[in-house]
């Protein structure tokens, strides 16, 4: 589980990884993949990176396609729709967000546990899943207390709090998932049928505000993580083995024939000799 603290409207966003912060994005030793999720209810925004607008009219509950960005450091600013860096202060701001080469990350604009807008970068686990399995990650990005995440009635992740995540690999399939307040049966979200596709990472975000009554789920999926099965069985009775050498019946026939030939030869040759 990764824990990331982020503070709204300050320049103190934690780095994605413990890499030293660089001041410019110029160091492009490679690219990173970054998606952005908007999880602040009721606020259409424009998103700026390093002073340039990258996402105009970004609506709550939407997720961007994965963006390929040069690795580096980014200053992110989120403005209420219509505001610009010249006309207003940002609604949310995060400076010095480190985006390492090769990383796959999702930056989430959401409410913290107390209901203040914030930005949290999450690193997405894109390691391979075992054959037949799917990865489920749940991220608490809602203004709500700690929760338990249940699948088919059983607690899968317990006491998940904002802004943390929990993750695990489970057999692929459809699960009935719900979210309850930690240690209770009080369902705050769901139940919802969740199709966890094999070889795919499904990331579920709880967002919104419990107080405002607008808690909701958002889903991101990352596919192509599958592995091949360990093998193919194919038989168990041994009724049709393929021998690698000369088959037994051919050996037997050959041996019998040779013996018979020798016997016949003994019968024939001496009789001729007698004449």
């Amino acid at each position: 589980m990764r824990r990331t603290a982020a503070v709204a409207t300050t320049a103190g966003l934690a780095a994605l990884l413990a890499a030293p912060m660089a001041t410019a994005q110029a160091q492009s030793q490679g690219d990173a993949t970054v998606s952005v999720l908007h999880g602040v209810p009721g606020l259409t925004v424009d998103v700026y990176a390093n002073g340039e607008e990258i996402l105009p009219d970004f609506e709550p509950g939407t997720l961007t396609d994965p963006l390929t960005l040069p690795a580096g450091t980014y200053d992110l600013q989120v403005f209420a729709d219509g505001d610009t860096p010249d006309s207003a202060d940002p609604a949310i701001e995060a400076s010095g967000v480190e985006v390492p080469a090769g990383a796959n990350a999702t930056v989430v604009a959401h409410l913290d546990a107390d209901g203040n807008p914030t930005l949290t970068p999450f690193v997405n686990d894109t390691s391979s899943t075992a054959a037949g399995e799917a990865r489920l990650t749940v991220r608490h990005t809602a203004a709500a207390p700690g929760v338990d995440v249940r699948a088919d009635g059983e607690v899968l992740f317990d006491n998940l709090t904002n802004p943390n995540e929990a993750s695990g690999d489970v057999p692929a399939g459809t699960y009935s998932a719900d979210v309850v307040l930690t240690g209770t049966e009080d369902v705050v979200l769901g139940p919802a049928d969740l199709d966890l596709a094999e070889g795919t990472s499904t990331i579920v975000y709880a967002w919104g505000s419990a107080e405002e009554g607008n808690l909701d789920l958002a889903v991101q999926s990352i596919d192509g993580l599958h592995s091949a099965p360990a093998g193919v069985p194919g038989g168990e009775a041994g009724l049709a083995p393929e021998s690698q050498g000369v088959p037994a019946w051919a050996l037997g026939l050959g041996l019998t024939s040779a013996l018979a030939l020798a016997f016949a030869g003994r019968q024939l040759l001496p009789s001729r000799a007698r004449r």
Binding site: T126, A172, D195, V219, P229, L239, V246, P247, A260
Partner: protein
Amino acid sequence: MRTTKAARVIAVVALVGLVISLTAAWSRLDPPSPVPEREAGPPAVSTNVQAPRDLPPVAKPPWPSETRQSPSTGSPPVVGRDDAGLGAFAAQAPARPVRIRMASTRIDARVRPVGVASDGQMQLPPNPRVMGWYRYGPAPASGEGGSVVIAGHLDSNRFGLGPLVRLRDIELGESVQVAMSDGTMSTYTVERVQRFDRRGLPATLFSRTGPERLRIVTCGGAFDAEAGGYQQNLVVTAVPSGR
């Protein structure tokens, strides 16, 4: 005189027997089939299997993108975005193979979707007359390429020997037909017949990218009960015909 005649008959019969046994031995030692065979050995990927490496691609959300918007004004780059709600995230049920037919070897088997067994191997229907399609991989003619894997048991303790014993006799260039649940039919042409050590099946067999291939898999080789049964996998690779 009588013994001489009997001895001649025995000699002739014995000669015929010798010829037959030698012929059998010769054909077994030097298979007439032109297929590249690969005997038990290290699990190195056969050079014949040319599916590209299966790299985890960058995520592409599978849900529809009707909520995609373009920027209202100015120069900002267009970044695709989608509704991340649960409703936009529904399972799909594409057509699946239901029957496979290889007329030349008189194999005509029902096909069921299968997954992974608890031991991590591909799951197979217990009855050797029914074959399994690896449902996590591509389906025939899905348009996404990759390996369609259909496999079956050669035999079973309960059901006896199945039709796949005749898969050994399949020849290059022969036709394979796969009937789909939506009534369509996909036809393939046998391109390659390979044998792999049972523990050395290349992962590329299950590749989900690259050109479309049909891989028909069963067991082969010697049977060694101590070492877990059949020692090889027989893999027939077929390419889409006329597509």
